[in-house]
C-alpha cells in the first residue's frame, strides 16, 4: 500500500471534473432534455386542443347546416305562399277589370240606346209636326199657332 502525494493530485482532478460537470455539462444536457420534454408536452396539448376545436367546429357546422336548411325550407314555403297569393290577386284584378269593362260597355250601350231614342223621338216629333202642319196648313195660321206647335214638339 503506497499512499503518497498522488492522492492530492487525484483529488484535485476529481474535484475539477465534478466542478466542470456540475457547472457546464449537466445543465446543458438537462436543459436540452427538459426543453424537449416541454416541447413534446406542448405539442401534445396543442394536438388535443386542435382535436377539440375540430370537434367543436364540426358541431357548429352541423348547427349552421340545419339552420340554413330550415331557413331555406321556410323561404321556399314563403315563396310558394306569395306565388299563390299573387295568382289570387291577379285573378281578382282580372275579374274586377272584366266587371268594370262590362259595366262600361253596358253604360255605353245604354247611352247609345238613349241617344238613338232621343233622335228617334226628335224625328217622330218633326214628322208629326210636319204632318200636322200639312194637315193644318189650310186652316191654321202657322204664326198664330206656333206657340202651341212648339209646346207639342216639346212634349213629344
Amino acid at each position: 500500500m503506497n499512499i503518497n502525494a498522488t492522492l492530492f493530485v487525484q483529488a484535485l482532478s476529481f474535484a475539477a471534473l465534478i466542478w466542470f460537470t456540475v457547472k457546464f455539462v449537466w445543465p446543458m444536457i438537462t436543459t436540452a432534455m427538459d426543453e424537449r420534454a416541454r416541447r413534446i408536452s406542448d405539442g401534445l396539448a396543442a394536438a388535443e386542443a386542435g382535436r377539440q376545436s375540430l370537434e367543436r367546429s364540426a358541431k357548429e357546422v352541423n348547427v349552421a347546416i340545419n339552420d340554413a336548411r330550415s331557413r331555406a325550407a321556410e323561404i321556399v314555403a314563403q315563396a310558394e305562399k306569395r306565388g299563390a297569393q299573387l295568382v289570387e290577386e291577379a285573378k281578382a284584378a282580372g275579374r274586377a277589370e272584366a266587371d268594370r269593362e262590362r259595366a262600361a260597355a253596358k253604360a255605353e250601350i245604354e247611352q247609345e240606346i238613349a241617344r238613338a231614342r232621343e233622335e228617334l223621338r226628335a224625328q217622330v216629333a218633326s214628322l208629326v209636326v210636319s204632318g200636322a202642319e200639312k194637315i193644318l196648313r189650310r186652316e191654321v195660321d202657322s204664326r198664330a199657332h206656333a206657340d202651341m206647335l212648339d209646346a207639342i214638339k216639346q212634349q213629344l
Partner: protein, 272 residues
C-alpha cells in the same frame, strides 16, 4: 513484451507490471502514470459529454446524443431513487463518478503487454494504465466524497446538530451512551471512505492481477518451446474470456461507487 528484454522470472514480470512510474521522494512521490491516465480518461469521458452537450438539440436527438441522454437519464433516475431532494449537485456528481470510474476501469481491457510495449518504446519502463488499481486514486475519490458528506451534514444540520448527532445517535441521548455513540460514529465515518476506496481498488487490482497471470502464461509460451503452443492458446482464450467477464465488473464497480457515494451524501442530509 517485457520478456523480449531477456529471461525474466514470473516475480519480475508481475512486479514490473505492478510498479508505478514514480517521481519524487517518500510521501512526496507522484505516480505519474496514475495522474496522467486519470487526466486522459477524465478529459475523454467528460469531454465527450461536454462536446455532445454543447451541440445538444432540443429537437430530435441523434444517436450519439441519445446515448448520452440515456446515461444522463439513467444516472438521474438512480440518484432520484436514493436522494429525494434537490439533485442539482448530486446528479452531476454521480455522473462524473460513473463515467470517470468507468473510463479508468476500461483501461483494464487494454492488453497489458501492449501498453507496456508502447510505453517502453517511449522510454517509460513502468506504466500502469489503470488509475483505479492505484489506491491513491480510489482514496482520493472516496475522501472527496467523505469531505462532501461532512460538508452536507454540516449544511443540513448545522455545526451544533452535527456534533449533537455524533454523541446521541444511534443509541440515544443518555450521557452514559455518549462515548459508545461517538466511537461508533467515528468507526462508521471511517468505514465509509475506506470501504468505498478498498472495494473499487480491490476489484480492479485483482482483475489486473489475473490479466497479469494470464499474460505470464503467454510469456511461458514464448520461452518454453515444449508446452508453448498449448500454453499460448490457453492464455489467449482465458485472457479473452476474463476480459469479457471484466466488462461486467468494470461497469458494475463504477455503478456501485456512484450509488454508494450518493447514498452516503443522501444520508448526510438525514436527521436522526
Amino acid at each position: 513484451m517485457a520478456s523480449e528484454h531477456g529471461p525474466q522470472s514470473a516475480g519480475e514480470y508481475i512486479g514490473h507490471h505492478l510498479t508505478n512510474l514514480r517521481v519524487g521522494e517518500g510521501f512526496w512521490t507522484f505516480n505519474l502514470d496514475t495522474i496522467i491516465m486519470g487526466w486522459i480518461t477524465g478529459i475523454i469521458a467528460i469531454g465527450a459529454f461536454y462536446l455532445i452537450a454543447r451541440k445538444a438539440t432540443t429537437g430530435v436527438p441523434g444517436r450519439v446524443q441519445g446515448f448520452i441522454e440515456l446515461i444522463v437519464e439513467f444516472v438521474d433516475e438512480t440518484v432520484k431513487g436514493v436522494f429525494p431532494g434537490d439533485r442539482k449537485f448530486l446528479a452531476p456528481l454521480a455522473l462524473t463518478i460513473f463515467v470517470w470510474v468507468f473510463m479508468m476501469n476500461l483501461m483494464d481491457l487494454l492488453p497489458i503487454d501492449w501498453v507496456a510495449k508502447v510505453t517502453e518504446t517511449g522510454g517509460l519502463h513502468n506504466w500502469k494504465p489503470v488509475p483505479t488499481t492505484d489506491l491513491n486514486t480510489t482514496f482520493a475519490m472516496s475522501l472527496t466524497i467523505f469531505l462532501l458528506t461532512i460538508f452536507f451534514s454540516l449544511k443540513a444540520k448545522g455545526a451544533g446538530g452535527f456534533v449533537h448527532e455524533l454523541f446521541t445517535a444511534p443509541f440515544g441521548g443518555h450521557p452514559v451512551l455518549w462515548i459508545p455513540n461517538l466511537v461508533l460514529n467515528i468507526i462508521e465515518y471511517l468505514a465509509k471512505p475506506v470501504s468505498l476506496a478498498m472495494r473499487l481498488f480491490g476489484n480492479m487490482y485483482a482483475g489486473e492481477l489475473i490479466f497479469m497471470l494470464l499474460g505470464l502464461l503467454g510469456t511461458i509460451a514464448a520461452t518454453n518451446s515444449a508446452g508453448g503452443l498449448m500454453a499460448g492458446a490457453a492464455a489467449g482464450v482465458l485472457y479473452w474470456g476474463w476480459a469479457v467477464f471484466h466488462i461486467l465488473i468494470i461497469l458494475l464497480q463504477a455503478f456501485i461507487f456512484m450509488v454508494l457515494s450518493c447514498v452516503y451524501i443522501a444520508m448526510a442530509h438525514e436527521h436522526h
